[in-house]
Symmetry: none
Subunit: 407 residues, 2 copies
């Protein structure tokens, strides 16, 4: 059986850039390996969610793996929490959490507590707190990030963020977003916990020490992106494939974990433009016999796009992504998918709904006339215009694993 | 924020014409401005409703504006009535109505009462008639047209037409189309009203005068196209856009009004091939600062197609539509959409289900290799094959107004 390397280059796709004479970074970049992939593969244009829908990274990845986000997605929290290594259960209410600093009027002074580099002591103090029958699970990280989870009965993710998303504003009281007992109960209990937590941690030994050193204390949990941990069928159950997720950013690791993929830690990869992408290929090679499916996530293109750095994006594609793809193509008898989760135009510095290029490269694939991997050329390819949810069924068929409908 | 001019050229799209060496009127016409629009824009082929569905103008326009006709449409009546200036409420049962002439055996002698040029006197006599708790609202026009509305409880649009759609046939008794109390009740009350109305107007002063002059009296209301006035979210509520509808034909004005657009009267525009389309551009320019979205409807192509006049259609596109588009392109920082609501092949003299060409022109759009605006070339464009319901989400995203699904 063929093996699959499924490469998602985050926000790789773009719109025409005036400074590039209306070419995109991908069109401007010299990418001989990606072009060879397109020459030997079948290409298309893909709306990861649907035509005209601006996809987030989380919803887009679910769709790319064949999990309908309209069924499974309620918020980013579950994938962030899973990415920080929490063991979650369906029904858990999960939050993205920053450790922030508030003053005595509960005004946010710093949303990242002076970019504190460890929040494990917060978790040690607060983990497994029980309030009104709800258990609060909390996990630290080697950064200002944390994951917070509420476990219990009658909980709902239909509540607002506590994080005001900007400094010099009072923390927000959590409110129910709908008129249900569950939403109101969840908001009430979470407000109690956040107050309790603040009292409990503000004078913690580490915080007293930080204040003496003139640093911001980590004295408030800024929660956002609530979501309910979904009951996802595992990748193995859904497709019969043993899968491995090679990603550095927590959210993508979390999605891979939520789908039951193994997610090894890969030294040298950072989830930033400085990441050593060759380490990702090495990671695949080392584990090649052990897995059927490798999800390789490359994050660097997306922050560069959010910064509007089109030249940095071009360079990253040319100098980092293209050699990585070239190295992958040396692995024999492998199906390679190359695509993006969404378009992030440098002009817009945010996601747009424009389609993304996609190429599927495999020995038996119907190669087409596309000779360059980019937005313009892939759109002329033989795959036509597809949706993210179409991709896995095509791959499963090319692997010879699809069951027949009819006889 | 960019502003939008959304141009719908009614029935512009066609099939190959033998006399044009198998070109369409759009392919035969010399249209340098529309071609430039296609060169700088992104193009595609669009089924306004769905593949293989012959769209009416009303259902197609609803879909083009992102209102699913399968949810909102029950008949043409509501939009005709709104177009004649009636103030309607959700639940009103509305009819297209002609004033016709019947003899004493109730046989239709003339479906337009000798093309009578005013029906206001009929409205004066019949407006606000009450029968069995149902109020009949009726509005005249400077033509043989009227609008009739039933307002009350337990009403249904599932009833047949009274208009036999041809002369020398008896008027049809209204019948329920389904076995429901509402449909049967509506049919019964409407039959009573039509009989009452005939008795009341047949000897009206104006009719007696017309008969003396040898003209057909306006003595019978020929009703058709019943529909229930839908509870439509306004364009402003749905998209946050202040919209203006520039159209001359009642039905299109009615759709614009039903969506909460302002619909000014534009002198010189007629809804016919003799219309002065430059007046539409002037109307846009005069109101440019006041609105975000301009719907510009051009009707002339459709009656020419229904007449099978392919040369007239070519000429109208070349001499009227193309200069109008050229003038629009001079307005800076504007997103222009150019499309049709359906194909009306001159050969067929009626609507067909063939897709229509569409181009979206804006600064940040992913321009493609299409250099001519027509059925054949646009189908090769980078938008691919889309549906009418896809268009507004794409536009909203290009305006930078789309909300993200996910994070």
């Amino acid at each position: 059986m063929k093996k699959v390397i499924f490469v998602v280059v985050d926000g790789m796709s773009d719109r025409p850039i005036e400074e590039f004479k209306r070419k995109t970074p991908l069109e401007m970049a010299n990418t001989p390996n990606m072009d060879k992939l397109a020459q030997k593969g079948i290409s298309g244009a893909m709306n990861t969610i649907d035509i005209g829908v601006r996809a987030g990274s989380d919803t887009a990845h679910l769709a790319l793996f064949g999990y309908d986000p309209y069924t499974y997605y309620t918020g980013r929290g579950p994938f962030e929490a899973a990415g920080l290594g929490m063991n979650l259960e369906p029904g858990d209410i999960c939050f993205r959490t920053n450790m922030g600093t508030v003053n005595k009027d509960m005004v946010v002074i710093d949303r990242r507590a002076g970019r504190i580099n460890s929040t494990h002591f917060i978790a040690d103090i607060l983990n497994e707190t029980m309030i009104d029958g709800v258990k609060f699970l909390i996990k630290g990280d080697d950064s200002y990030r944390m994951a917070l989870v509420m476990r219990g009965k009658n909980l709902s993710p239909k509540i607002t963020d506590g994080d005001p998303h900007e400094d010099n504003v009072k923390v927000h009281t959590i409110e129910a977003k709908e008129d249900s007992f569950e939403a109101k109960f969840t908001a009430k209990v979470l407000n109690k916990f956040l107050e309790f937590a603040h009292e409990k941690i503000k004078d913690a030994e580490e915080n007293v020490k930080r204040e003496k050193e003139g640093k911001f204390p980590a004295n408030y949990l800024l929660v956002r992106g609530p979501g309910i941990y979904p009951n996802l069928p595992s990748f193995k159950d859904k497709y019969g494939l043993k899968a491995c997720g090679i990603a550095a950013s927590p959210m993508y690791k979390g999605i891979a974990k939520a789908l039951g993929m193994d997610v090894p830690r890969i030294a040298g990869t950072t989830g930033k433009p400085n990441s050593d992408l060759m380490k990702k290929v090495e990671a695949v090679k080392e584990r090649y016999d052990k897995y059927d499916f490798f999800f390789v996530h490359v994050k660097g293109t997306d922050p560069l796009s959010h910064d509007g750095d089109f030249e940095g994006k071009r360079k990253f594609l040319e100098e980092k992504v293209d050699p990585m793809v070239g190295e992958m193509m040396k692995i024999e008898n492998t199906l390679i998918v190359l695509t993006a989760d969404h378009t992030t135009p440098c002009e817009l510095k945010n996601h747009s709904a424009d389609d993304v290029p996609v190429t599927i490269y495999a020995k038996s694939v119907r190669d087409d006339d596309v000779v360059h991997f980019n937005e313009r050329e892939c759109a002329k390819g033989r795959l036509g215009h597809i949706k993210g949810m179409n991709l896995m069924p095509i791959i499963i068929d090319l692997m010879g694993l699809a069951s027949m409908y009819g006889a």
